[in-house]
């Protein structure tokens, strides 16, 4: 995976924050000087419906505006999508898949239509419940995307995410530390 020129596809369900995660990743990568693109694909908008979001992160200007069909990285925010969405479609063999689940990668492989590349699992529910007391999978999955893709430096990511949370949660400062803990716990779980 070329961390200087990377394409990411996010699969989630409406309301889980996959789009927010994609926009946040674009945001923090921008702050390190990268060219970024973050955008959702909109279908019928309703809670729980499958949604897709995309990131292009590059050291060169980005002018392509189509969806991403051959991603370097796919992030699955909701494992129930594995049985209904072909999440590995077009995923590069030298790329990687990250799934939010309490299972092991080998338990997930049978659902991946023979995808032979790297597969990682992150128990975002457990991390989120431990760190925040509530289930918000997007912070752990965002950290996982950074840990696997190396799209930005770990310390830069932590610093920029803190700044981002401090801005976003200016009126709810009590959730900032929980979100930060969710990020660092995810890094620890993935050995990053």
């Amino acid at each position: 995976m070329d961390s200087k020129n990377i394409e990411i596809r996010w699969h989630g369900r409406g309301g889980q924050g996959a789009k927010t995660a994609a926009l946040l990743l674009a945001d923090v990568c921008f702050k390190t000087g990268a060219y970024v693109q973050g955008f959702p694909e909109y279908g019928p908008e309703r809670m729980g419906a499958p949604i897709t979001a995309f990131n292009r992160i590059s050291d060169k200007e980005i002018r392509v505006h189509s969806n991403i069909y051959n991603p370097d990285l796919v992030v699955v925010v909701d494992e129930t999508l594995l049985s209904s969405v072909d999440v590995t479609s077009g995923l590069k063999e030298d790329g990687a898949l990250i799934v939010n689940t309490d299972k092991e990668p080998d338990d997930i492989r049978p659902f991946l239509n023979g995808y032979a590349g790297s597969v990682y699992t992150v128990d975002a529910r457990k991390i989120s419940m431990d760190a925040l007391g509530r289930y918000f999978p997007n912070s752990p999955m965002l950290a996982a995307a950074v840990a696997i893709s190396h799209v930005m430096d770990k310390d830069d990511f932590i610093r920029e995410m803190r700044a981002s949370y401090e801005h976003k949660f200016a009126k709810k400062p009590e959730v900032i530390e929980g979100n930060m803990k969710a990020l660092t716990e995810t890094f620890a779980a993935l050995g990053y």
């Binding site: 674009a26 921008f30 909109y42 002018r63 392509v64 189509s66």
Partner: protein, 397 residues
Amino acid sequence: MSRKDRMSGNEAVAYAIRQVNPDVMPAFPITPSTEIPQLVSTYIANGEMDTEFIPVESEHSSMSAAVGAEAAGARSMTATSSCGLALMWEELLVAASNRLPVVLTLVNRTLSGPININCDHSDSMGARDTGWIQIYAENNQEAYDNFIQAFPIAEDERVHLPVMVCQDGFITSHAVQNILLEEDSDVKEFVGEYHPEEYLLNPGRPIAVGPYAVSNYSMEAKYNQEAAMIRSKEVIKEVAAKFREKFGRGFDLFEEYRCEDADYIMLIMGSASGCAKQAADELRQQGVKAGVLKLRVFRPFPAEEIASALSKCKAVAVMDRCESYNGHGGPLSCEVPAALFMNGINTKVINYVYGLAGRDFTVSNAAEVFGELKDAAGGGQNIRQCRYVGLRTREGQ
């Protein structure tokens, strides 16, 4: 000094609106342009601008209110998409024929049906004969830049016509990307203060706006409107040159990307231009001389300039993100060959329809079109026209 930032196309336009700080903005929300009035309302609530925002009950009313405010002497604008523009239709003609320099930021979305919220150009193309200047953007940067240029174009005394500034719904309106933003003071200086020559709230010089005109006068009024549209071409170029001088970027009527020695040119508008450029670059690496003519200004239609730009290549693909349901091509597909013919240029043309209702247009789609263009250039005269790109059912069924 320009400042590097990242934002979506909608955010970029809202940011420009704050900088321009127009006098009046009536608006009614509709996907995918809703964020624009929403963000402007927030700027106003936060005291960052003092535009009179009028939350109206429909788009017919938003354009009516913009017309009324502009006639009164206030710099006025609104935002909409799709069915919202369709509902404004009657008032679009009123704005243009009364020579009111209203600015409309349009986030392109398909028209019904089937009901769909995604991008194509059927909304603005439906309004192509309403007397509005139309400028299209490839990305968030151009949406921002074009919006700032709209006011000096519309308000120029040689023009006095409304301007529609278009960007592709969701594809650029909701995509966060890098952008260069200019200082508030620089944008304000570029746009300038609005001093209309004639306006309703001018007690020393009463005028009537929009009265009945008998046949003895109506045709001359319409001729004058067309004459202003013709004059606007030079003004658009002047404003673009001034913008380039001040901020260092932008194009006037269109961008010619690797066209100078191109055998095969794709003529396209809006966000899909980037995929076309990428495909042209990849083809050039294989020795195919491909280029892209990205049309920025659709009204006034730069017929002579397009004909001249396409005079040396072997074949042109004309790309419409809109279906005209006329059996022989979308708006560009009819106007570009007419421009070539009227200027005595005999370049081969293939017409395409792509990207309807949000159908994705990819680099490989663009490369396929260039491939067909190459085949057609070497073949006879019987070229199949009105081809669809990326259609899942077979054409002709």
